[in-house]
Symmetry: C2
Subunit: 195 residues, 2 copies
Amino acid sequence: MTIATPSRRAETSTPISEVMANRWSPRSFDPTVEVSESTITAALEAARWAPSASNTQPWRFIVARRGTPEHATIVENLMGFNQVWAETAAVLIVNIAVTKTEDGTPLRWAEYDLGQAVSHLSLQAHRDGLHVHQMGGILADGLSAAFGLSDELEPVSVTALGVLGAPENLPEKLRLREIAPRERKPLDELLIVTA
Amino acid sequence: MTIATPSRRAETSTPISEVMANRWSPRSFDPTVEVSESTITAALEAARWAPSASNTQPWRFIVARRGTPEHATIVENLMGFNQVWAETAAVLIVNIAVTKTEDGTPLRWAEYDLGQAVSHLSLQAHRDGLHVHQMGGILADGLSAAFGLSDELEPVSVTALGVLGAPENLPEKLRLREIAPRERKPLDELLIVTA
């Protein structure tokens, strides 16, 4: 039996781009489908060309395909139920902020800029027929140790990327989340001042 | 005399979406053209539907049209040469992170998530024919004081948004930057591990 999935499309007061309206973060990925190398490269190139403060580009990535030891290492360093579903993603990417320059100067906008780069990556991947789910629930210290990251490199999140799977493949609790309506605060609540 | 502007298009090893390839951050905005209300709304809606950690949506905005006292207040709180060019932007937006919940719990990914929301906003605006330039060089305390922001609200950056102007309208130093080739680190440098 197929579960009817309600529309995942964003409800907006005025139209926004298709890729943004249709992007959402699933937990069910098809565990058998590979992602083509050119699709992974396009996603990384999109991240590469994101804007950043003084063009410092304070982002680095660990990219691991399913079936590699590195993929398994990333899964081991996810928290709680993220481990349950993320291991099926074709690609896991550790999103790393460069928090200071070589001479020790803090890069104030490192995390903000990293967020922009991962946003570019996600939208490019979605445009190319994939789905993306970012996780904040990671063991940053464990990832740093496992991959021997130097002090200025800070794992901030992990991106799961792959082909959308069926909600039925998830345990019940996650299945219900997968098909629940998408929600956001009303726009008015986000605008402190409009002038 | 018109200065020939070299292509601002991103050079990538594999094609990426048009809007990302063509997006760049100018400093010359047309000081006479208004931005339609629907275009501003679309950009804000795009931000609204960005992903965030546990869907906390830790972003708020102060939106000010050119000619309002609020626009002037934002310009006053820009650093250095940002004041020279940003006052011509049709809209200035203060991008604010919500750094903790009402009960004081820190929102670890507030700045990262804000970066994603502003990325969505920028790409939507660019798709709608505008250009966007984000500034980290702001007086955050000055903005907080001027707009009476509570403690958990942190101004992180300001977005200038409007219709692209001619490079000739800028002072020489900025004009040279405006037409310089766009650059990024090679992709290899960004990938700590590929597996």
